[in-house]
């Protein structure tokens, strides 16, 4: 069954159909949100937890979605907030345990059995982990998702100009990292 956003938004207004409509939303967006989160967080279990939190938050706040923005924009906004909250929490924990080798995100990524680190795609992923999280977000949205700056601006609540600058800086840093680590 094809996902028609207008139809699903109408169904959300009906308490009898709301859960069914939400199930359709989950089915439509679970994969793309998972991969977007996974590229940000790297670890599968963490990405899985975050994905569940995203949909729980969306469900709890579904009455506030009035179709003024696209469903994907609304969900991405929740997803990116969840990712940033998770990263900040992780950073705070790592400050407490600096001696833990797992606190180095690149080393942690290399030890992940669900990650193929020997490929160029893997090297790009490692390069991404060296970026500040906002730049990583912007790079993922633009490079992998080919999202327009205007949509990114809606999701991240940042000006188009700042996003463009952020992307250019990220791209340059990644190119240098790859050059030095091939």
């Amino acid at each position: 069954m094809k996902f028609e956003e207008n139809e699903v938004t109408k169904m959300l207004r009906d308490p009898e159909l709301q859960r069914k409509a939400f199930e359709m939303i989950v089915a439509e967006y679970q994969d793309q949100l998972y991969w977007q989160v996974r590229r940000m967080i790297s670890d599968h279990d963490d990405a899985d937890d975050i994905l569940q939190n995203i949909f729980i938050k969306a469900w709890v706040n579904i009455d506030s979605f009035r179709g003024e923005s696209r469903m994907s924009t609304w969900l991405y906004r929740i997803a990116m907030n969840e990712c940033i909250t998770f990263i900040n929490k992780k950073k705070a924990e790592q400050k407490v345990s600096l001696s833990d080798p797992d606190s180095d995100p690149v080393r942690h990524l290399e030890s992940d059995s669900y990650f193929d680190g020997d490929t160029m795609e893997g090297l790009l992923q490692k390069a991404l982990l060296t970026l500040p999280e906002k730049q990583r977000l912007v790079f993922n949205m633009k490079y992998f998702k080919e999202m327009k700056y205007e949509e990114m601006s809606d999701i991240l609540n940042t000006s188009v100009g700042a996003l463009k600058a952020s992307y250019h800086i990220a791209v340059k840093k990644i190119a240098v990292y790859i050059e030095n680590n091939v």
């Binding site: 207004r13 989950v26 998972y34 990650f115 795609e121 790009l124 992923q125 490079y143 790859i178």
Partner: protein, 128 residues
Amino acid sequence: MKYEEEILKKCGKGNPFRVPEGYFDNLSQRIMNSLPEKDMSVRPLMSVAVARRHHRLLLRLTSIAAACIGLMFVIGLYVHRSDKSLQIAKVESKVKVEQLSDQDVESMVHSSHMDDYTLYQYLSDSEN
């Protein structure tokens, strides 16, 4: 863009991550099962028209509440001023009511905002 092309050429857009086997097969169900039950009294989404009606009603109620507060303030002010006027009347009554001219009484009535009977009572009491 030079650097972007360089990255694309060297790394492409492939995905180096994998997921446990069958992960996506039951993901929807698992997510749906993890959702909290919604309160059965959950309000359906309001239509724009209903929301506008509610907004107008809220505005009206707010205006009425503001008017009531304003009225209470004015009444309070009147009572306060009346008390003052009565005090003045009492002081002046010591002078002797008989000495007051009709004009004085008229002016007192006007400034005290009391009805004639109340004013009469005060003036009479002050004589005793």
